[in-house]
Symmetry: C2
Subunit: 338 residues, 2 copies
């Protein structure tokens, strides 16, 4: 398989994407080729710091523009036709790559993949499926920021796509799906969730009903469904709180020699929990519902995060996630008509 990597996307581009491409090629033999898309001169310079040159598994593809975080999503896609992000999507569209990975502008990636690759048959809106840690492993949050204003049918499609993603990529045979709300009772919820509830009850899902913020990390729900506005806020709040908590702990642990010694002795425990709560470990979110494999890595992605995003892309290709989504959505449409 061949993966197009937006080498200019993210806060540490092209440094981190280039390093990640080299590591991923070493670690994952199933990736036949990574195509680094971006300013060719800068990419060549970056490669020389690794004493590497392009070869048959590592291609360069020149793109003269970069989409900035301050650009409007749709406008950027229309205006910056020669940007690394748009060119990488073009490669997927033309069949020159099987997937795209980008740590760039989320909105632009969703817009470009929707405009250029189109949605899968039967899917009205693409949603971002992010992976978060839980007490029993991980859970999927969908939509983590693809669509800010969603309709009930969109949430139903997110639930179905998230469930397939969870079944095949995270390997849970029968994923439990919950609709994120402000309480578990059916009297709770807002207008959108109240209209979504009956649709999810009818869908071919193991549907738990409403789940609330208090039970996200307990591990009882495998797929948490919400609109992209709520999902994006939840995702970012949790990342920020995890980071802040470790910052506060570090501050407290360095207050006196006894604590410093204790922290040193227990350092393995901190590393383990930090790893568990770190966004980098989960390697990027999948944009589900578009006709192509698109993985969004975090804007501030480390090298490890982009390596993991490349891994997720290769698994999604291997497992034919999109074919499974099309089949399941078609079945649901048939069911809802009968």
């Amino acid at each position: 398989m061949r993966i197009a990597l937006d080498a200019m996307g993210g806060d540490h581009a092209p440094h981190h994407p280039v390093a990640a491409a080299l590591q991923a090629l070493d670690r994952f033999p199933s990736i036949e080729k990574v195509i680094l898309v971006g300013d060719e001169d800068r990419l060549r310079t970056e490669l020389t710091t690794h004493r590497r040159e392009p070869d048959e598994r590592l291609h360069l593809y020149h793109a003269s523009q970069v989409i900035e975080m301050t650009d409007g999503a749709v406008e950027a896609v229309r205006r910056k036709k020669d940007s690394s992000l748009v060119r990488a999507i073009d490669l997927v569209k033309e069949g020159a790559a099987d997937a795209i990975v980008s740590a760039g502008h989320t909105g632009a990636l969703v817009a470009a993949s929707t405009i250029k690759l189109r949605n899968l048959p039967g899917v009205d809106r693409a949603g971002i499926a992010a992976i978060l840690p839980s007490a029993t492993g991980v859970f999927v949050l969908i939509d983590a920021g693809g669509n800010v204003d969603a309709r009930p049918e969109h949430l139903r499609d997110f639930a179905i796509m998230g469930s397939i993603f969870c079944k095949h990529i995270i390997r849970r045979p029968s994923p439990k799906v919950g609709l994120l709300s402000n309480g578990t009772e059916e009297s709770k919820g807002n207008e959108l969730t109240r209209q979504t509830l009956p649709l999810l009850k009818k869908a071919p899902l193991d549907f738990l009903g409403y789940v609330e913020g208090h039970s996200l990390f307990e591990g009882n729900t495998d797929v948490v469904v919400c609109d992209g506005f709520v999902g994006n806020i939840v995702l970012k709040c949790c990342e920020d709180l995890a980071r802040s908590t470790f910052g506060w702990l570090k501050e407290e642990l360095s207050r006196n020699p006894l604590r410093i010694a204790g922290a040193f002795m227990a350092r393995g425990a901190f590393r383990a929990v930090k790893k568990r709560t770190s966004a980098d470990e989960y390697g990027g979110a999948l944009i589900l519902g578009v006709n192509g494999i698109c993985v969004k890595a975090h804007g501030s992605s480390s090298v490890l995060a982009i390596v993991n995003a490349l891994r997720v892309a290769s698994e999604a290709i291997d497992l034919g996630v999109n074919t499974k989504i099309v089949a399941e959505i078609a079945q649901t449409e048939l069911l809802s008509r009968t």
Copy 2:
């Protein structure tokens, strides 16, 4: 001042509320009287375990019913007229108490206070102001779950009320206000936040614009404004993540003798951070916008949490928070007409 305490509200009622009332009376001399509202027999029995009897600072007020967490909010208020929560609100309405504190049903408390006490002049909807930890101290999240479907003018009122609360109760001379969104750029946001943005720009606030989940805990924003659906989810997710992180840390720290010894030596640091991230320390959220002081403590409140809720109630009375809200809202109305 006299505070009515819903002694049957919360997961550990009447045990925790009764113990909290006794501690608060000891610690806060400005509280002249706590009125325990609930099943009189059970409250007397509970008091005997503390070897106490009602006295001039500790009154009992009988209420035969209890609002359960599964009850519908408005229906419960209408039907369970002799519930501890409704009776405690009645005491405020009749002027027999200056504030109510409850760890019971949030929706019912918002409904009862809105129906019985009415909103403050100029305020259309009440909002829940919760206090959360940040790198520099704390910040206010409003609305943390009062209204699930809000309009732009409601968010504007929440911003003004939250700012006053922050100025007087948390003592920040000029609170910085942010509107919670999925990104800081003005192109981000959903329909509600996009309509709210111009209203907040015109309001007499130190308004920062959009703030996103990534920067909540950094401490740059003093008041974070959102609708109650989003606010409730954010609040509960953060509480759950903080709790889960400490659970995971405990698990890892007990894996081998070296880690156990290290954890013991550094135990002061864990306690400090746990205290900082614990909901119990912040003592309950204020329902702002109703014509009375209403403090909501967490459903699973510890004794300490309810003691802190009683403290917040006494401070809100002392500082005349509601008078200040009425004056500020009136000024904003005048401004928006000119």
